[in-house]
Structures are given as C-alpha cells and as structure tokens.
C-alpha cells in the first residue's frame, strides 16, 4: 500500500514537471480523483502521473523482483496502469517494454484503463456455486444489463468474477469496493446494488 502522505511529499503538491521536452504544472495529492476529474472535463493526459510513478520506481528499483510491488502501487495510486508508465517502468528495471506488458496482461488484477466507481466481484467458485452463486450472477446480469465482465456505460459499476475470497464457510460471498460480504441473499445483493446506484 502506498503511504498517502509519502505520495503527497513526493509530489510537493504543486509541481512543474518536464517530461520529454514538455512541461506541465499541476497540483494534487490524490491522483485517482485528479484523473477522473480530468477525464470528465478534458483530454486524458497520462503524463501527469509520472512524478508519482517515478517516486514509486525510485523507492523499489533496488529490491529484487520488484515489478509486482511497483505495479500494485501504481494501480493503487492511479486506479489503473496507464500505458505511458510502461516505458518508465521498463527503463528503471532494465526490462523490455514487452516484458512489462507481458506481466501486466498475465495477472487478472492489473487494469490498463480507469476503473468504474464501484467494482463488484462476485465469487463464482465451487463453494459459492453450491450455495446459489449462479442465481446471484444471473440476478446481477439482469438488473444491471451487463455480462459477467461488464461495466456500465456511465462508469458507475463494473462486474468481475472472482474465484474464492476465502469466505467459503459462509458462502455465497462477494467483494464490493474492497469490502467482503458473505451469507448473501438475493435481497442483500439488491440492497448493496441500491447503495451503489444511489451514490452515482
């Protein structure tokens, strides 16, 4: 987990960054909201993440096998792994771009596009299946008009299947925005979705 305070310090909050001959002034501490605001009002500019990315690379590049921790921290800070960060990571770790992209695409957790506001991961493994996870999945598909991997057009909610959350003694289970919910019923699932849609 990146320390939010350290992130802020790494950035000095107000900073003019020069990258590949272009300079840009920006001020923020929380990249995730910054990115979202930017994308809603103007063109995405992945360059703006680079100070944070360089800060992460600086801290990790000496430790052996650091690629996964680096990718986790970048995703934690930005919400996804922007394509513009790949050359920076590759350069810092002395890897080819292909090696970095290969790792990003191999692991289910890493995203290369901004996530929805809410991420709902319904467990679809054996234990939850034996307690009706498939019916819950059908309920989600029907209510949200999405498939199992779908994201709503308004960017509010993404569905992702997950195979085991370690809650098997109280199946079925799901994870919503990082919080685990178990002993699910159709009603509780509806309540959770209601809460997501109210906040939208």
């Amino acid at each position: 987990m990146p320390d939010k305070g350290a992130l802020a310090n790494g950035l000095n909050c107000h900073e003019t960054v020069t990258w590949r001959g272009r300079s840009r002034h920006f001020r923020t501490t929380d990249y995730r909201w910054y990115v979202r605001d930017r994308e809603e009002c103007c063109m995405p500019d992945e360059m703006s993440y680079l100070p944070m990315v360089n800060h992460v690379l600086e801290r990790h590049k000496g430790s052996p096998g650091a690629l996964l921790p680096i990718l986790h921290e970048i995703q934690e800070g930005i919400g996804y792994i922007p394509d513009a960060t790949v050359p920076e990571i590759a350069h810092a770790l002395n890897l080819s771009h292909a090696e970095v992209r290969g790792v990003i695409s191999f692991y289910h957790d890493f995203r290369t596009a901004p996530p929805a506001r809410h991420i709902l991961r319904l467990c679809r493994a054996e234990s939850c299946k034996s307690r009706g996870a498939e019916q819950l999945a059908a309920q989600l598909r029907k209510r949200l008009h999405l498939d199992d991997h779908g994201s709503s057009a308004d960017g509010n909610i993404s569905l992702r299947p997950v195979y085991c959350l370690g809650a098997c003694a109280c199946s079925p289970a799901l994870e919503l925005d990082g919080k685990l919910h178990a002993r699910l019923s159709a009603e509780r699932l509806n309540t959770l979705i209601d809460a997501c849609q109210e906040g939208a």
Binding site: L68, Y163, A167
Partner: protein, 520 residues
C-alpha cells in the same frame, strides 16, 4: 465492574456483521453507562456462529451468536442479568461439542488471543519453539522436523524434513524461505484465518526455518484477495522486528533472518510453487519444469525452502513439544493434525482441526450437520477445485493422504465443499475445464489447449441429440482427461481432470448418460 467482552476481527466475521455488532455494543454501553472492555480477537473458526460475542465469567468464556446489531441491547440485558436466558446464548464456548472434540495444535490460540498482541502470543506458548530451536542448534532442529513426520500441507504432502535437509545441506551464499500463502482453492480458508488471527505463529515458523537451513531472507506470498491478511502480517512483521525476533540477531541466536510480504495479483497458478517463484522474481507466473527442484535452485536460482502457511506454522509446536508429541497424532504416514475446512452447502461451516484419521462422514455429518439447505447430500469435493467429487458411498474413508489416494481422491489443503442434490455435476465438470482454461499459465499444451477442448466436448456432450452421440463424446472426454492427467507439467492441468472424471463416474445421469455408458 468492568465487563470483558471478546469479538473477532477476522475478515469473514466482519463480512457477516461483527463490525456492526461492535459499533452497536459501544453505543449501547455508552447509553447505559456500562463500562465495557471489548477485545478484538481472532475467530474461533466456528463460522456458522459468527458474529460470536464472548464474555469472561469465573467458569470461562460464555458465548452469544450468531448476533446482529439489533440483538445487542437484548444481549446486554442478559449479561447484566441471567446470561443463559438469551435465545442466542451458547453457554461455555469451550464446552461446545464442535470445539471441545477438536485437537487444536495450530489453532490453539484461535478466538482467544488478539492477533497483533505480542504479549498475548507469548503468554500462550509463543516463541517457545524458536527458543528451543536456538538452544538445540540447526542440526537437531532439522532432525526434529524430519522425525515429526510433518508433510507439506499445501496439497502434495511431501515430507518437510527432506526439504529442510536438502536446503540445509546445499552450500550457497544466499538461501531463501518462501511461504506459499496463495490459498486459491475454493473451500479453503485456514491460511487466511491463521495469517489474520495468529500472524506471529507463521513468523516464528519462518524464523526457525531460516536459522535452521541457513537462509537469511524470507518472503510470504499472499494472494491479493486477502487484504486483511496482508495488512495484519505487515504490522506483525514490524512488531516482531522491533522485539528482536527478526533482523540481524534473531531471538539472540546471533543469526540473521528477515522477511517481507509480497502480494499476488489474482493468478491461481501462482499457488504452484515454481510459478510462485517466477512471480516473486517479477515475472509472469509460468510453471518451471522440475528438476532442478526449488530446494537446489529456487528463487533467483538459489536454494529455497518453499512451504505452505500451515506447514511452516506447524514447526513451532514441533520444536516446543518435541517430534514425538507431534507424531502421536494422526495415522500411518499422515502424522500430526490437519485443519479441515467445512464449506459450501453445509449447516455448520467452519474450521475443524483434528488428527488425521477421522472419516469424511464424521466431518461432514457430525461436525458439519449435513447440508445448510436441508436437502439430501449429493457429494463433497475434497481438496479444492482440482479435487475429486466424492459421493456419499465413499464417506467412510478416513481422512489420510494414502486412504484418499486409494479411492482416486486427494486431501489437498483440507478443504471440503459440500453440495446438495440441486447441484448439477455436468455444470461443475464444465466449470472445472473453464477454470483450468482461464487460469492455465500456458506453458504446456495439455493444460493450455486441452482445457478449452474439454469445455467444448462437455458442451457437445450435453447438446447431443441421442444416446449414441453422447456416449461418443463421453469417450472423447475421458480420453482428453487422460491426456491432461498424465501429460501436464504441473498439478493444475494434471488434476483438473479429477473433478471431471469423478463427476462422470459417479453422476452420469447429470450428463444424460446411463451408468454403464459412463463406465466404458
């Protein structure tokens, strides 16, 4: 008088409402001006009773559960008056038959201690194993582990002592201890419970391993689906380091050992030890061909001791109480205790730690209380998504590595997923192939391509218009399963065939086949 209450902070207890109960307790106690001391402990593993609130009494801790926030005022009334009058009162928790009949060695502290309290850990036998390991020295420690008969708890059941001797006997400038905490099997949660509830036990086990085999650094590779285990372990590492149990001089031994937590990224295959090592090295989690075995050339090409969480966590008690004490539990070549995990459609889901040798029926019927739905039991899948579906006629098999191998099944990590008669085994067989296709690392052909072909064959089998066509596809499917089982590089491909062939063998009707056709 101050009332001492205990409520678990285990992530699953929280997922079923223990946080809400804690908030309600605090506000209700304030309203009543009642002095409460709420201790946040680990979970007992009696998950069907969670959230389980316990209170100190002169006789021992009494329990209430499963609670909701709405039950809190009533429970406080009962605590101030006659506790047993409450409808959710359970009496003395340690007298509950589910718990009392267990043999808890690994989970001895579960539900009793606070996960991040070093004082709690020490006052319940913590670090006795490390102290003794330092006192007797590396050679004797490795011998004790060997003599205890401890076998790897991750699934393959390889004798731990042999790995320890191999790594110890291999000269190298740098060796590593790697803890495989990528507990991806559905139906298993013992690793998660241990890491969230008793992190110092794992740290102690790894420190003993480190100073014994001559490794100065360790990694715990935890799956990203367990965020609470990750944060608890990281805090526990800082506490242990500050107390001198990690660092340049481990517990006064003069030997150095330190470790860190690394987080997986949602790849099931990284639970396979060589894929895990590649992932730790910052690569795609691709399975390596063996030999060389990791004990000789593992992480970064160095000798590496790779063990599951439960294997490493078994070491402190073996050292503290001696190899003979541990050997006295279990049967045959399966010595010690195993934390079995009851999951799926089961009335009393939770953790049952018992010596090897009790039968699957005792586990599912006596402890589990049958299906949660109340419908007839159809089968139990033992050993995770790659395990065999065991039909009730085999439920009298003792839970022992060899006895399970004899019926074509495996114990794996000790997870048992129970299903009632509504679960469609043809669907589960297709899911096993689909899961293998999604999670295959892609290195070997049977797994990478065979799994997708397997899905297609099952689809054709289910869509076939007549018996003849169905039988034809069943033969192709069995042939394909043979290829997977004997031709794959690792257990993912090799064992993905098990749930398919067992479903086909025991539940042919779900595939629209007659029993005689499935036998062919």
């Amino acid at each position: 008088m101050m009332t001492h209450l205990y409520l678990p902070v285990d992530s699953l207890a929280r997922a079923v409402g223990s946080d809400e109960v804690a908030v309600a307790l605090a506000s209700e106690a304030r309203k009543r001006n009642l002095p409460l001391d709420l201790h946040h402990t680990s979970s007992r593993g009696l998950y069907w009773l969670e959230p389980l609130l316990e209170m100190d009494t002169p006789q021992g801790r009494i329990g209430f559960g499963p609670l909701t926030a709405e039950d809190v005022p009533g429970v406080l009334d009962a605590l101030q008056g006659e506790p047993s009058s409450h409808p959710l009162a359970l009496g003395l928790v340690e007298e509950l038959p589910y718990l009392k009949s267990q043999q808890r060695l690994l989970f001895a502290r579960a539900g009793i201690t606070q996960p991040l309290s070093l004082d709690d850990y020490r006052s319940h036998g913590g670090f006795e194993g490390l102290t003794r390991a330092i006192a007797v020295g590396g050679e004797q420690t490795a011998t004790e582990v060997f003599d205890s008969g401890l076998r790897g708890r991750g699934g393959a059941a390889f004798p731990a002592g042999i790995k320890w001797r191999t790594v110890r006997g291999t000269p190298a400038a740098q060796k590593y201890i790697v803890c495989n905490a990528d507990e991806g099997d559905s139906g298993t949660f013992a690793d998660r419970m241990l890491m969230e509830g008793d992190p110092f036990l794992l740290i102690e086990g790894m420190a003993i391993a480190g100073i014994t085999v001559g490794a100065s650094y360790g990694y715990i590779y935890v799956r990203s689906e367990y965020p609470q285990a990750i944060s608890t372990l990281r805090e526990a590492l800082d506490i242990a380091r500050a107390a001198g149990y990690l660092g340049a001089d481990v517990g006064g031994s003069g030997l150095a050992f330190d470790m860190e937590v690394r987080v997986g990224a949602g790849a099931y295959i990284c639970g396979e030890e060589t894929a895990l090592l590649d992932s730790l090295e910052g690569k795609r989690g691709i399975v390596r061909a063996k030999p060389p075995i990791p004990a000789l050339q593992g992480l970064f090409g160095q000798p590496t001791l790779v063990h599951n969480v439960l294997t490493l966590a078994s070491v402190p008690i073996i050292l503290a109480k001696g190899a003979q004490f541990y050997r006295d539990y279990g049967m045959g070549r399966s010595t010690g205790t195993m934390p079995f995990q009851l999951a799926g459609n089961i009335r009393h889901g939770g953790l049952v730690e018992r010596a090897f040798g009790l039968t699957l029926r005792e586990l599912v019927e006596d402890y589990g209380g049958g299906t949660a739905s109340g419908r007839p039991l159809k089968a139990a899948q033992v050993g995770g998504p790659l395990g065999t579906w065991v039909p009730p006629e085999h439920f009298d098999t003792p839970l022992d590595y060899e006895a399970f191998a004899a019926i074509g099944a495996m114990l794996g990590h000790g997870g048992v997923v129970v299903a009632d008669d509504t679960l469609d085994m043809a669907h589960m067989a297709r899911f096993a192939m689909q899961f293998c296709a999604e999670e295959s690392c892609g290195k070997c052909t049977p797994c990478r391509i065979g799994s997708t072909r397997g899905m297609e064959v099952i689809d054709r089998l289910l869509a076939a218009p007549d018996q003849g066509k169905r039988t034809e596809q069943a033969i192709v499917l069995k042939d394909l399963c043979d290829t997977l089982q004997y031709g794959s590089l690792c257990a993912l491909g090799g064992m993905s065939a098990f749930p398919v062939t067992s479903a086909l063998k025991y539940f042919p009707a779900d595939f629209g086949l007659q029993a005689s056709e499935a036998e062919q």
